[in-house]
């Protein structure tokens, strides 16, 4: 994990390859857009707070999408909000990642049949990297989703496609 398993040649010198270093630095400071939609956002805030402490993974809420790396879609995406969500996503500089949090953002949740105002899954407008199930998911589940995303970033490569 990280750089600790790399080779130590001397004191204070770690030999690694560029890819691992870049991936490690990127996955260790995933700044998120300070953005919440519904009751899932309460769980997301609880995850950010001291008890679950999102900050230990380098996840800090940023007030602007232009300073962010990930966006957590935490709640019901209404059709009215969907156009705004898309704009927020487009403002995030590459490389960017999306965590879809909760049943509503995954597939419409309880609104799947009679929700005339609800987008049935945020993946209809933006690409999603990790789906976190739950209604709402507990903070542990969101942390697990973030670890999955970190795993994905760790396996990325500059020269070959991540699988």
């Amino acid at each position: 994990m990280g750089l600790l398993d790399q080779k130590f040649e001397n004191e204070n010198i770690v030999i690694t390859n560029l890819e691992d270093l870049l991936n490690w630095s990127r996955l260790s400071s995933l700044w998120q857009v300070g953005f919440g939609l519904a009751c899932c956002a309460i769980e997301m805030m609880a995850t950010s707070a001291s008890h679950y402490d999102f900050d230990r993974f380098g996840v800090i809420p940023r007030p602007s999408p232009r300073q962010s790396d990930i966006i957590i879609i935490s709640g019901t995406v209404t059709l009215k909000m969907a156009t705004r969500v898309k704009r927020l996503y487009e403002q995030i500089p590459d490389p960017k990642y999306v965590i879809s949090m909760g049943s509503c953002a995954n597939c419409g949740g309880p609104y799947w049949e009679h929700g005339y105002h609800v987008l049935k899954g945020v993946d209809r407008i933006i690409p999603v990297d990790v789906y976190v199930p739950g209604c709402p998911p507990r903070p542990e589940a969101l942390l697990e989703g973030l670890l999955k995303l970190q795993e994905k970033i760790r396996n990325e490569s500059l020269v070959r496609n991540a699988s």
Partner: protein, 175 residues
């Protein structure tokens, strides 16, 4: 005052409003009024020193769905004729009594005069009634959609014969 006392008080003091009757179908009694007399009645309820309805708790619009049901080609039902209702829940905070008013309007021309100039709080309630059921509140200062997107063209979602569109701005709506 109780509902009956308020109703009798109005009939006694305001002859033009004396022929109103209450709606027996509702579980909570409501005085039924036509749209052209609504403003007269509301002004009395607000201004009369014995009534003093200073708080408009809620306006709720209802699709009565009591017209002629027509089944069209794709098997769905379309309502023709019948009425839409608007319920006003009033309260006097100073005299501690409540009163309900209902106005029924035809489904094809649901024009109801706005009461925003009496109670400012009616503004958003009436916009919701317009957005969800399609009541046209005449003389409302800003009768636009409030919950649905401003460019929503598919109709009024809480009408019982409403059909959701296939797409909105390129996004697929059904599951």
């Amino acid at each position: 005052m109780t509902f009956e006392e308020i109703k009798n008080y109005i009939a006694e003091h305001y002859p033009s409003l004396s022929d109103l009757d209450f709606d027996k179908s509702a579980s909570d009694k409501a005085l039924e009024v036509t749209a052209d007399k609504l403003i007269d009645l509301m002004s009395v309820l607000y201004a009369d020193s014995a009534l003093k309805m200073d708080n408009l708790i809620l306006i709720s619009a209802v699709d009565d769905f009591n017209g002629e049901k027509i089944i069209i080609e794709d098997g769905s039902t379309v309502m023709k004729g019948g009425t839409l209702s608007v319920y006003y829940h009033l309260e006097s905070l100073s005299l501690r009594h409540k009163f309900n008013v209902v106005v029924r309007v035809p489904r094809e021309s649901p024009d109801v005069p706005s009461v925003t100039f009496i109670w400012g709080g009616a503004n958003f309630n009436e916009r919701e009634g317009y957005d969800m059921i399609g009541i046209n509140f005449v003389n409302h200062p800003n009768l636009t959609r409030i919950l649905m997107p401003y460019d929503w063209e598919a109709g009024y979602p809480l009408r019982k014969d409403y059909k959701n569109p296939e797409f909105y701005q390129g996004m697929k709506v059904p599951y």
